[in-house]
Point group: C2
Chain length 595, copies 2
């Protein structure tokens, strides 16, 4: 069965969990009534299900084709779908009205992005990277640059890319070699080779705006000598239309395990004309504007693929007849029972849901804080919003992609032998999702970002605020008998997280390897705490609905999935804590040559 966008989940999160209408007094939120949300969700669901989803296997099988002239042809149907995307105004949802955008909060756009990414991840990367380029220019571009580029990028009429990686330089951008030579007229000649450039060349848009990291001649070595440039595929003419072809070209496509429908390009800049964005040698900071946004986007990809994979597995499990329920046939007139009767199949499905539903809540909750960081009048709220975005972005990126991949693998497993064939999409989901654990900073880099930077920033303010918020929640709600198990479990895992945090503070300073060696387990423990918090919030809402006699089984199901989380997912927290506290000793015990 096809992917079914989880409109009901989104409506629940935006309307009941985040209660988005309460922010009606804030810029951008003014028009965000639940009526509007419903309209957007329904339209988004239709577009994802009807336009993007059918093209997903097409993209996987055809892939992108590179020609000798450097052009790239996207899979059949992609061009038409892209035209519909632009016509529908989807890329402009969250963009600034000053540049033709609709100015909606990011948290609302997230719902569309999830659906779009679930329906067709490879396709959705084209507008996704465009939005990153939009954000970098919006953050650091001159007024002229904004006026020239932002409207085209906001609408999706032009595409955008991030040109960071070089063969010798991935995570370690200090090794970057691409050089920029000032011409004297304000422009630069950019030369160098970039690899793994997603959407680097394609036939979907009239122009492609590359955001390129390069080193201006004579700049300092390392990361302090890196600047950011705009390098358009076609240099805009006086009317702002695509003009002369620039000396940037695609030298080939990468053969990859998945996301075949997205062109992963080797890009050659051969004295290409570029313009500096922001200040000289300050390119990394601007690139991180794109990067941080992209990291939350990658977290969403992990979630989205997990959701789609879960749905397909649930469909398969309801339809495939094999064996009998241990407690007696449920389909006695048929040749066998559907495999969803088997507890170990259920376990895989429940595990997926327990993580997906709370993971989505945590992602949306964090995105709302990101919105508030920009528009709330109270500086304390803005600070908290910004702190939470910083703190939770690496947690969400690493945890939701790790688990998203696991969910895709579990979904394939539910399919049995069918899952290993390319007849079902289970294999594609698994193969597509695998990149999310790597790009925009590997999950190991996320864990290091969390323990090495985000925890310590501002004297630990973000993590202490988060802990205090949970304490206050526990204090306020521990007396509520019907959901006491959720609140008690939350208090428990929060105490474990606190113990781990203290351990890192005490032992990470004396030996930074201790923090690094424990970073991934710490990040998982952090995520489990965040999920437990979301489940406690969700459970209270659901319980109130159930007690009020609401006939929608949605609410009782939420309580059931939440209790599965407490029984079957949360016990991992103790193991994570135990591992954190062993530090680097055993991890670093072997000499490098012993591997």
């Amino acid at each position: 069965m096809a992917y079914r966008p989880p409109v009901r989940e989104h409506r629940f999160l935006l309307g009941e969990v985040l209660q988005i209408e309460q922010y009606n007094n804030l810029p951008g939120f003014a028009e965000v009534s639940m009526d509007l949300v419903d309209q957007i969700l329904d339209e988004a669901a239709r577009f994802a299900a009807e336009v993007l989803d059918p093209l997903n296997p097409v993209g996987d099988k055809h892939g992108c084709r590179w020609s000798d002239d450097g052009s790239v042809t996207t899979p059949p149907g992609f061009k038409d779908a892209y035209r519909k995307l632009v016509e529908g105004g989807w890329p402009a949802l969250g963009a600034d009205p000053a540049f033709g955008g609709q100015g909606l909060p990011a948290v609302v756009g997230l719902a569309f992005n999830e659906m779009s990414s679930a329906a067709n991840m490879a396709f959705s990367m084209y507008p996704g990277l465009t939005h990153g380029a939009y954000s970098a220019i919006a953050a650091g571009g001159s007024d002229d640059q904004k006026a020239l580029y932002l409207p085209k990028l906001a609408s999706g009429e032009w595409g955008g890319t991030m040109n960071l990686t070089e063969p010798q330089c991935g995570t370690d951008l200090g090794l970057l070699r691409t050089k920029a030579v000032p011409v004297g007229d304000g422009s630069y000649k950019i030369s160098g080779q970039k690899i793994w450039i997603s959407s680097g060349e394609h036939d979907l848009a009239d122009n492609i705006i590359h955001l390129v990291l390069a080193r201006i001649e004579g700049a300092p070595a390392g990361v302090r000598g890196i600047s950011l440039f705009i390098v358009p595929k076609f240099i805009p003419d006086a009317d702002g239309k695509p003009g002369v072809r620039n000396q940037v070209s695609c030298a080939g496509l990468e053969e990859k395990m998945g996301i075949h429908g997205n062109a992963t390009c080797v890009m050659i800049h051969d004295e290409a004309t570029g313009w500096l964005v922001g200040e000289e040698n300050r390119g990394l900071a601007l690139m991180f504007v794109m990067m941080n946004e992209a990291r939350l986007g990658v977290a969403l990809q992990g979630l989205a693929q997990g959701e789609a994979a879960y749905q397909a597995a649930a469909d398969f499990a309801r339809e495939r007849l094999q064996g009998r329920a241990l407690t007696g046939p449920v389909n006695p007139d048929g040749p066998a029972d559907p495999i969803i009767v088997h507890p170990d199949v259920r376990r895989l499905l429940m595990d997926s849901r327990a993580v997906l539903e709370a993971g989505r809540a945590l992602l949306f909750w964090t995105a709302l804080h990101g919105d508030l960081a920009h528009v709330h009048p109270d500086s304390a709220v803005r600070q908290k919003g910004s702190d939470y975005m910083g703190l939770l972005t690496p947690v969400l990126k690493a945890y939701l992609t790790d688990r998203g991949f696991q969910i895709c693998s579990d979904a394939l497993q539910v399919h049995g032998g069918s899952g290993f064939t390319e007849h079902f999409q289970a294999s594609q989901r698994l193969r597509d999702t695998r990149i999310t654990l790597i790009y925009e900073g590997t999950n190991g880099v996320q864990a290091l970002d969390l323990v090495g930077r985000k925890l310590a920033a501002n004297g630990g303010r973000a993590v202490m605020t988060f802990a205090a918020e949970i304490d206050a929640f526990v204090e306020a709600h521990q007396g509520e008998a019907a959901t006491a198990d959720f609140v008690t479990a939350l208090a428990g895992v929060k105490a474990q997280l606190q113990e781990a945090t203290f351990w890192l503070m005490q032992n990470g300073l004396t030996n930074p390897d201790n923090a690094a060696a424990s970073s991934t387990d710490y990040l998982s423990l952090f995520a489990l705490t965040g999920l437990a918090y979301m489940w406690a919030i969700i459970a209270r809402i659901a319980q109130a609905k159930v007690e009020a006699g609401d006939p929608d089984p949605f609410y009782a199901n939420k309580l059931a999935v939440g209790r599965y989380f407490l029984a079957r997912v949360l016990p991992d927290a103790g193991a994570r804590l135990a591992k954190v506290k062993t530090g680097a000793a055993t991890v670093m015990a072997l000499p490098a040559e012993a591997f």
Copy 2:
């Protein structure tokens, strides 16, 4: 860098851990000196590294080609490698000398099988399935059938297959429809469609002997009406040479996620001529002779792919320069340090080793018990060997393939973006290995086999024997200070396993869903106990060598990896136990229509 067969590991296991020379008085073991073992290991390593390993990416990229005439062409080089395999006598290593085999214990052949499977899993499945067919005929065939088929299958001159699965019938063989009609001359006409038949058709061998499950007309419904047949591709003539072409043909190949070099066939039996093996309606028991052997073989595939993937990741981590060690540069004259300095990269590599080294030990230890079950003069030893084989086969199959896949994924992760491209073999390892969690019984089926059959068999004799053996070990060695941490940890996890076992006994009888819902977590806890036992054994041997001043760093490294296991892998046992004890309640809480 290429795959390096782990000869040192095999020599350590066979010589020092299992002390295989002590069985010199047993049939088959008589000639197994460590000199012979060394010779076999060196030859096997050469064959795997030089002949099979280079063909691995070739097989992935080319795949098998099916032609309209039903023929299948294997990837370039496979035919030549297969000829060398047969000429080298490798398939005959463990076969009965009465049929041209070398009669060596299975545990010795395991080392070759691991190397062969690691170097080229898709290729190694051709002889692997042949050996399964050999075993089924050896177990249930008539003397004439043995004389006709076993020498050809033992040598590999002819290939073999298992024809079980049909579109409506995978795990649930009771749904099988392929029918067999007696002709009257002792033969049958077999008709039906079989799918997912590995090595079902190819160009490597002069003949292919299909072992086919079918239902004799008028047989009872369900699993009690299934018989096993020999259906040769070419019916042997009076001289035992391939004669008339039989009415069994390959109607197409499956498009798969991995193992592209192995032909996964749709087989059509159109009144094909077949001969009954063993008794009417008793085919399933014979098929399980093949199946159980195959399950241990699949466990070995998971281990083998994990080992090869780990090696490639370690090589990459030593060579890729990116970033600096947190504790100060180790390659100050280079542009960056190798990424193996980063604790989170080390964690991935150490995790892999901690599981691979003890997993291999447990697999070899179990295989030795399987050998003893056949040849030991003491019936108590035979019974114990047979009990352990039954008990540990599902544990090894599920755990080593789950972890093997995880190790392949972690190895891909160490490669960063390179791992997602098809330029490195990391993607192929991941894709190839994914099938091992599914075929020969999904890992969920293994877990159910463990808790539903193997635990309860003979009043729980096998698990009680295993527990008593560990108790005796702990009792004997707990006073040894240098390795007390290993023995204490073993006692701890064994107590957790016992608690889980009691819980299953008490709660699985009242509600079988409780046992099924907890089966996978129980299986993991069982595996962790087995690995902890192996690490304790290995640690004692290594410690003695270190204390004796042995200059080989191999032994000190074993202690280091073992202590990583205690600190960083074993803590999962507590989470597994906690999950087991929650039973089916939360797993089965939702109605089927809520998924």
